[in-house]
């Protein structure tokens, strides 16, 4: 297990966070660049000395600011995979894997290397130079090298960032399996939502050096609890509203936009799942852009509880599809559609469309509980 808390102040930035990951668990530190994710990893690895804190790796306390405990990085037994992998170019693939191994006899080391080569499917590449390898192979060599020293914890810094999108998806599954096999605590840093969902057992959202929230990946990244978390994890529509009517027997309630509509327009109203909020209380409603259907006309007969009329204000490429910006009752609203839908419907700015989505696609986002 690895757990602890640190406070690190760098030039114009302060990181203050805590973490905990048990063996076999992948803790994802999620946040935009500059959130302090890499700084946290470097502190755990011992490559950076915090101002205060306490760090446990395995059963050992490797840093305790109050009790002046400090273990240097080469004695921490923490595996660290950097974004660029940093394979050593003067050594072969097997030379890289063998680099940190020690203690055992030459024969035992060789057996371990062969084992890792086969687990990481690097057969036939043992004597290759590292720069001759593909990106995916380099990643596997770096991971094999880190696991070769049998670390008590593993730190992964954006492990897929230098690979192309296609490769990422294929490798994720393999890495997931290898991490489960290793049965050590893993702290993984990423700003990629899909990656966090695919690999994380638990997600901790960081922003500007602070932990905003922590929980199961789907709850954090699908229906995040806090306003800033929602925006950080890329929930495209977060609307300030208040409760207008409650329907406990249907399990739903109607909310009305907290902002006044433009003159001559009715206020924006949404049907959302019932919460224990009272009538008149404010709330933030989150709707993912990919949960919204665009229609040319109002759907006459439909199970979707929300249909908003709006005008297209802009269209932009958002791979793999497009993001259409609407203005509905004076409120900006974003929807994601495919390129084919865009061309078949002939969507262009100024057009009138209907945004359609289920009540259950709306989720409640709490207001910030920390005012800073």
């Amino acid at each position: 297990m690895t757990r602890g808390w640190v406070r690190c102040s760098l030039a114009d930035f302060v990181l203050e966070t805590e973490w905990e990951a048990s063996p076999g668990q992948v803790l994802v530190l999620y946040g935009p660049s500059g959130a302090g994710k890499t700084t946290a990893l470097r502190a755990i690895a011992g490559l950076l000395r915090p101002d205060q804190g306490r760090i446990e790796v395995g059963e050992r306390v490797v840093y305790d600011g109050a009790r002046r405990v400090w273990t240097p990085p080469h004695k921490r037994n923490v595996g660290y995979l950097t974004q660029q992998y940093n394979l050593f170019p003067h050594l072969t693939v097997s030379g890289n894997i063998r680099y940190g191994m020690g203690g055992e006899t030459r024969q035992e080391r060789q057996t371990r290397v062969e084992e890792l080569v086969s687990v990481f499917r690097l057969e036939g590449l043992e004597e290759r130079r590292t720069w001759e390898l593909s990106g995916g192979q380099q990643q596997r060599v770096a991971l094999a090298r880190a696991l070769a020293v049998q670390p008590a914890a593993l730190l992964l810094d954006e492990p897929f960032s230098s690979l192309d999108a296609e490769l990422r998806r294929t490798l994720r599954g393999q890495i997931r399996a290898i991490l489960e096999q290793a049965n050590i605590p893993v702290v993984l840093v990423t700003h990629d939502r899909e990656e966090a969902l695919a690999l994380g057992d638990e997600v901790q959202v960081l922003d500007r050096g602070r932990t905003l929230d922590r929980g199961e990946p789907l709850r954090m990244l699908g229906q995040p609890g806090q306003g800033r978390v929602a925006r950080l994890v890329g929930v495209e529509n977060v609307l300030p509203m208040r409760v207008e009517q409650r329907y406990p027997q249907d399990g739903s309630m109607v909310c009305v936009s907290a902002d006044d509509p433009p003159p001559g327009h009715p206020a924006l109203r949404l049907e959302v799942p019932l919460t224990d909020l009272e009538i008149g209380q404010p709330l933030l409603v989150g709707i993912r852009a990919s949960d919204v259907i665009l229609a040319g006309d109002r759907l006459a007969s439909s199970s979707a509880r929300n249909q908003l009329q709006g005008t297209v204000t802009g269209v932009e490429l958002r791979p793999p599809g497009y993001q259409v910006a609407l203005e509905c009752h004076g409120v900006p609203f974003r929807c994601h559609i495919t390129g084919r839908s865009l061309s078949e419907m002939g969507i262009r700015p100024g057009m009138n469309l209907w945004a359609v989505f289920k009540a259950s696609s709306c989720f409640m986002v709490a207001e910030e509980n920390t005012a800073d």
């Binding site: 470097r42 690895a45 011992g46 490559l47 240097p72 990085p73 080469h74 004695k75 921490r76 037994n77 923490v78 595996g79 660290y80 950097t82 660029q84 940093n86 050593f88 170019p89 003067h90 680099y99 940190g100 020690g102 590292t130 720069w131 090298r145 880190a146 070769a148 020293v149 670390p151």
Partner: protein, 271 residues
């Protein structure tokens, strides 16, 4: 063939080629002339083994070898410190290190006399301890280290800098101590730059003239290195002067060849 090398989008191409030819003649003609005249000497082989030549060659090889040992032992940690540190003090040191590159060697010789000479600032104290530096082989080494060290330090510093700090970080997380990391990772990766710097520094040391003649003098068999011996021989024994010049030219070509090989061995783009 000419059409290929004259790129139509390069407005400088005709002037560039003209200058190139002129330059090659300018450098090549004197070198060739020297070799031709050396070859014309009837007693070229005898000149190569004359006592003046042999003594100067021995002295040059021994002093430059000792100088390079001193430069490597002291220059390597200094270069590493400069490469990894970013304090204001180190930036100042960085500037001072390069002073000998731009300082006229004769001035370096005068400066060392003023420090270690009989009338110098620390000279009398040294004499009191029975140490006498000027006009000895030690002085020759001092002069060589003074002028040659910056070439080594600069190259080694750039070599260390080209290795990202992250490589050393990763090495340490693999359980390898900072000291072992230096020997097993940093040094092998910086080796091409370091050896290149050493070759340049050696070339500079072996050709040292101004500081040596000022501080160490021109005593045959004691402080008379090859360049000084060439000066002396020019007045009396042109054959020996030409023989020694040819030897130094061969050494220079060897250094060029070593530099060429090392340049292709860099890890650039892989670090």
């Amino acid at each position: 063939m000419f059409r290929k090398v004259i790129n139509p989008s390069n407005p400088w191409a005709p002037a560039g080629w003209a200058a190139t030819v002129l330059y090659l003649v300018f450098i090549g003609l004197p070198v060739l002339a020297m070799l031709v005249r050396a070859g014309q000497q009837s007693d070229f082989a005898a000149s190569l083994t004359s006592s003046l030549t042999v003594q100067a060659l021995q002295l040059s090889l021994i002093t430059s070898a000792v100088s390079m040992a001193v430069v490597v032992v002291f220059g390597t940690p200094l270069a590493y410190l400069l490469a990894r540190g970013d304090s204001v003090a180190l930036k100042a040191v960085d500037a001072v290190v390069e002073l000998p590159i731009v300082l006229p060697p004769v001035v370096a010789g005068v400066a060392m006399l003023m420090a270690f000479g009989r009338q110098g600032i620390v000279g009398p104290a040294l004499t009191g301890m029975g140490i006498h530096l000027p006009f000895t082989a030690i002085a020759v080494i001092f002069a060589q280290v003074f002028v040659a060290a910056p070439f080594y330090i600069r190259a080694a510093k750039l070599g260390f800098q080209s290795i990202g700090k992250e490589f050393e970080d990763v090495s340490q997380t693999l359980g390898v101590s900072p000291w072992s990391t230096f020997w097993r990772l940093t040094l092998p990766l910086a080796a091409p730059s370091i050896l290149g710097g050493l070759a340049l520094a050696w070339a500079r040391a072996i050709s040292e003239f101004g500081a040596t003649i000022m501080f160490a003098g021109n005593l045959t068999g004691r402080t008379q290195t090859m360049p000084l011996a060439i000066l002396t021989a020019m007045e009396t024994d042109i054959g020996s002067a030409l023989a020694m010049s040819a030897l130094l030219l061969a050494g220079s070509l060897a250094v060029l060849a070593i530099l060429g090989v090392l340049a292709r061995r860099r890890w650039e783009g892989r670090l």
